[in-house]
């Protein structure tokens, strides 16, 4: 890895930077995820709860449903276990909103529980990451999101890559079934990403 500024790679990305909303009640984890995302050339907004996330997204019921508080959000990464509103509940609120359901939501959890993973994916989560989240997880995720944006054809339908690699819009009723998820081997099996060989880092 280059010893210079890790953010130096960002200059090579022509596409607009992704804006990621990170939701985690842990201040340590917020700091880490923020850094991981910045290195991956994303703009980051980090909030401490599902409630704050919904406020930011303009979905707290007290504001006009048209306005956003800030920049458009391209990806939401949320912790699963949070006091008050869990990540799962946040996921449901987002996927239940006509305004926000297209935003990919990734769940992060320290607990590798298959029923939990399945439930999240079935509810529409893009990915389930086991904590602690690594840079390789974030890079893979942001690459995927960026590619998806490039290939997006029709707004309002879930973007799913078919197994042959092409990206075609499919009606929501089809994509909601777990068998058509396009990252099944990565999302459902326990800790898939840690099975990748570690890079040798030299100073």
């Amino acid at each position: 890895m280059a010893m210079g500024d890790l953010g130096g790679d960002c200059s090579s990305i022509d596409a607009q930077e992704l804006h990621v909303l990170a939701v985690d009640d842990s201040v340590v984890d917020r700091k880490v995820i923020e850094r991981l995302l910045k290195i991956s050339c994303c703009k980051v907004t980090a909030v401490e709860s599902g409630r704050r996330a919904l406020q930011y997204l303009g979905l707290d019921g007290e504001r006009s449903s048209v306005e956003f508080d800030g920049l458009k959000v391209n990806l939401i990464m949320t912790d699963y276990s949070m006091p008050g509103m869990t990540g799962f509940e946040l996921l449901k609120r987002i996927k239940g909103s006509s305004k926000l359901r297209e935003i990919p939501v990734v769940i992060m959890s320290s607990e590798n529980i298959l029923t939990r993973i399945d439930r999240c994916l079935e509810e529409g989560a893009e990915e389930f990451l086991v904590k602690p989240v690594k840079l390789s997880d974030v890079k893979r995720l942001t690459d995927f999101i960026l590619r998806g944006d490039d290939n997006s054809q029709k707004k309002g339908s879930r973007k799913r890559k078919t197994r042959d690699g092409s990206c075609s819009p499919t009606p929501p009723s089809v994509t909601s079934s777990p068998s058509t998820l396009q990252l099944p081997s990565k999302s459902i099996s326990p800790r898939p990403l840690s099975k990748h060989p570690k890079m040798q880092i030299t100073d």
Partner: protein, 152 residues
Amino acid sequence: MERNQLRRQAAYMRKALFDQGDLDDQFIQLEDLQDEANPTFVEEVVNLFYSDSARFIENIELIMHNGPSDFEKLDNIMHQFKGSSSSIGAKKVKKECTQFQECCKAGNFEGCKKALKEVKQEHAALRRKLESYLQVFQILYKKLGHIKRVRS
């Protein structure tokens, strides 16, 4: 030279943290996130961890002060503590947190007391060793310029 001596000292201290099982690979992940523009990232994260830990321990002790009661609440707090420990690679602390949680699930108050003691001990030991290492590392950094970590 003083520089080489410092380098050796830092490398030795760092290696000990891993060899003795205080830290795991996640700490290396954090080191990798450090760069010239963010040269104290690891230290900042670790400091956040310490203030978190202090808060968690205080809350747990408060609840436990009046005898066996809300095991679920104790478990929840320790779950958060364990999460922070995991995020910085605090391997031994994380293990003791798990032990505490096991005692909560079993409703074993005496076990919880013992386990909390272990958590605090491991946390204190880690803090001592890590602070020493990071101190030397920062001095070395000032002398050598940017490095992520010191290898022996």
